[in-house]
């Protein structure tokens, strides 16, 4: 597959639009999700970044150095575009890039749903972890998404984000600590609920 994609990049360098279309078809869905997350769901900005990424792939193909996956190269282009955009409009984007928080109504609903059995309970545990994930900084979430959703190795993540491998590892480690703490808190909460229920049953 890696050979196939490097051949596609070579064809793009030789003005082959069909080769660009194959890569576009293959990667657009993943790039869409990646850019959507980085640009916090601003559909217009996502499409602009998408166009800029593929134009850069087209223009950059003649100078492409085959090292690592073509996928990592494309994501690196997308990341650079977002980073550039963020520098340009840092004030405007900063607010929107902040993780969303749950409001009290949601909490109430979640606790109501929590009483409905094992499958739902497991779903809710996962949702609580999702909530903790959303409390992480965008940079930490980005690393986790690139590994778990997009399937990049840590070294490729370092290439995409233009940061040292050590920084990627420390972000992974920080995210792990934060989520493990959140998970422990969920377990403590449910243990406390169980204890309360036991208490009530005794009376």
């Amino acid at each position: 597959m890696a050979d196939d994609e490097q051949a596609l990049v070579a064809r793009i360098a030789a003005d082959d639009q069909e080769a660009l279309r194959i890569l576009y078809t293959r990667y657009r869905p993943r790039l869409w999700r990646y850019l959507w997350r980085r640009l916090d769901g601003d559909a217009g900005a996502v499409e602009d970044a998408m166009q800029a990424t593929w134009l850069a792939v087209w223009r950059g193909a003649p100078g492409y150095q085959p090292r690592g996956q073509v996928a990592a190269w494309i994501f690196q282009i997308a990341h650079r575009h977002v980073a550039h955009l963020r520098r340009d409009t840092s004030r405007a984007l900063e607010g929107r890039l902040r993780p969303r928080a749950l409001d009290a109504e949601d909490d109430e609903l979640l606790s109501a749903v929590n009483e409905t059995g094992s499958h739902e309970e497991r779903v809710l545990d996962r949702l609580a972890l999702v909530e903790a994930l959303r409390a992480l900084s965008p940079a930490h979430r980005e690393v986790l998404e690139l590994v778990f959703h997009h399937g990049f190795a840590l070294a490729e993540v370092a290439q995409i984000l233009d940061i040292p491998l050590g920084t990627v590892k420390s972000r992974v480690s920080y995210a792990r600590r934060a989520l493990a703490t959140a998970l422990a808190a969920i377990d403590r909460d449910s243990a406390a609920t169980d204890a309360t229920l036991r208490e009530r049953t005794k009376r």
């Binding site: 003005d15 869905p29 999700r33 809710l124 996962r126 998404e145 792990r176």
Partner: protein, 553 residues
């Protein structure tokens, strides 16, 4: 702990391990270490939970509806020196332009388009969510559900013997056989999770025959990994599975029912997560009903259709619809009494094809607990159109496809039936018929599949009786397969001479690298010759460089 790897080394590799990365040797070293180390096992569990949470979080991204327009926009921006004619198949599709309605005028589909009556979907109050939950639940990228051979066991006269699959000889004409299925397993449905070649994962359900009765009554879940199908989790005795819908590379739903004992049909719905599955019994499901299909738009949003048992008098009863949200299957009322297809497109949003109690054909667009009937037309007694598939690409770009039969009469041995494609397009306002000639379909094409990016696909087929001299059963064998690529239809060699259906998988295919689910049927007469049994089975097909490879026949 083993001398192979320290805990620190193992812990550092776990994120990549969970993501399925690393070579086989390294993965084995990690597994060996984990088997002997409680601490790293706990660490693995934590990373697995984190990986799931990431997937669930990413699943809230709404689907990309601008793939096609985005491509055209991109092409327009490419420097002049590099411009070439686009090969996108949508160029050949009429897409909302005025169309000739030759040949299909008799349908008069647009007689009632303006009505679009809105009906409220009213779930029972106890289950109805009254508030928005967290951030709006988005949709995971469109999931393709290809349940081509939903193990349709037809029946006639006495039907007790199982189809003799083991004895059948595949009529291979141009397909390299892939690795065999696990011993004794027959595939019953195939689905794809994820999009794009790197994230695409195929899953399937299967059945194993009971050695005592010969009935394929044991369910199996299969995952396509490293070019072969492997069983996931334990087998499910007494419950053959016949459908599967995945929401990620690891999570999904499978369903099935034991049709063999009509006096006590047993149905089952399974939730699959990682390598395990668990039975789920949604509240309000009639235990004697059978799951028809599940269509998911994301890990936390989807639809289930249950076919309910007939009344004591033998009359059919309306099917039940359930919506999955916040981890719960909630019953909802709908204008449809029976369902042909559901295309789940986003949180709470879906397109549904079916009919109502008064025998009207309906196509309904469900959004935010509201059902808008986009098409309602009476189903005349002598109707010869069968619409079976919905493909929703955008709110103003929805296709309904099926076949048109030459007559309402049944197929006779001396009168092989031929069909023509039936195609309808919704542009956001009304449904309009699309004539095959608008798509410059090859002469004799009987069915057309609309597949963005992988070209359109057409088949020419003929329906004949399976057993000479008998009216039933019949099968529709494909005679030729065509692909629309670079603006022209090209004939593609067939993998089998006994192919009875083929669905190209859009999310895994490009014009030159095709993944498809094919169908083949197996029928046998009973030993006393008075009856027959059989059905249609799916097979995963890959077409690359002019060659087919089959996986699972």
């Amino acid at each position: 702990m083993t001398i192979d790897m320290t805990c620190a080394e193992c812990a550092e590799r776990l994120p990549e391990y969970i993501a399925g990365l690393g070579d086989a040797g390294e993965r084995e070293r990690i597994e060996r270490h984990i088997r002997t180390c409680d601490r790293c096992r706990a660490e693995l569990k934590l990373w697995r939970a984190i990986g799931e949470a990431v997937e669930l979080d990413v699943a809230t991204v709404p689907p990309d509806t601008r793939e096609v327009t985005g491509w055209f926009q991109l092409v327009a921006q490419l420097p002049e020196s590099r411009s070439q004619p686009s090969s996108h198949p949508a160029l050949s599709a009429p897409g909302g332009q005025p169309m000739e309605q030759n040949g299909l005028r008799t349908l008069e589909l647009d007689e009632e388009p303006a009505r679009s009556p809105e009906r409220s979907l009213q779930p029972p109050p106890a289950n109805r969510p009254t508030r928005r939950w967290m951030t709006p639940i988005g949709a995971v990228a469109a999931l393709l559900i290809v349940a081509l051979g939903a193990m349709l066991f037809a029946s006639h006269a006495s039907r007790r013997s199982a189809p003799a699959l083991g004895d059948s000889t595949p009529l291979v004409v141009n397909a390299q056989p892939g690795p065999p299925l696990p011993h004794g397993v027959t595939m019953t449905s195939v689905t794809l999770a994820g999009r794009g070649e790197y994230s695409a994962t195929y899953w399937a359900t299967g059945a194993v025959s009971n050695s005592a009765t010969g009935q394929p009554d044991t369910g199996v879940i299969l995952r396509f990994s490293n070019g072969r199908w492997e069983q996931v989790g334990d087998t499910l005795p007494s419950y053959p599975l016949n459908g599967i819908a995945m929401v990620s590379a690891a999570e999904g739903w499978a369903w099935g029912a034991n049709f063999y004992d009509t006096s006590a049909i047993k149905s089952v719905i399974l939730h699959i997560n990682g390598g395990a599955w668990q039975r789920v019994t949604p509240a309000g499901v009639n235990p004697k009903g059978t799951p028809q299909f599940i269509s998911m738009s994301s890990p936390i949003d989807g639809w289930l259709v249950m076919q309910n048992p007939k009344t004591a008098g033998g009359n059919t009863t309306p099917s039940s619809l359930f919506h999955y949200s916040k981890g719960i299957w909630n019953p909802v009322q709908s204008p449809l009494s029976y369902f042909g297809d559901i295309a789940a497109v986003g949180p709470g949003e879906a397109w549904m094809l079916g009919g109502d109690a008064n025998d009207n054909v309906l196509i309904v667009h469900v959004t935010s607990d509201k059902a808008v009937v986009t098409l309602r037309r009476p189903q005349p007694k002598d109707d010869n159109i069968a619409i079976s598939n919905l493909s929703a690409f955008a709110p103003n770009d929805v296709w309904a496809t099926g076949v048109r039969y030459p007559s309402a009469q049944s197929v006779a041995p001396e009168n092989p039936e031929t069909r023509t494609p039936a195609l309808y397009h919704y542009d956001g306002a009304s449904w309009q018929p699309v004539a095959p000639s608008d798509l410059r379909a090859p002469a004799g094409a009987q069915q057309i599949q609309i597949v963005p990016y992988a070209g359109m696909w057409a088949t020419r087929s003929v329906t004949t009786s399976v057993f000479p001299g008998r009216h039933e059963p019949t099968e529709n064998r494909i005679q030729a397969l065509y692909q629309l690529d670079k603006g022209a239809w090209q004939e593609v060699p067939l993998p089998y001479s006994d192919l009875v259906g083929i669905n190209v998988i859009p999310d895994a295919s490009t014009a030159s690298d095709i993944w498809a689910v094919g169908g083949y049927s197996v029928y046998t007469t009973n030993s006393n010759g008075s009856g027959w049994s059989g059905g249609t089975y799916p097979v995963l097909l890959h077409y690359l460089n002019g060659e087919w490879t089959e996986y699972g026949r």
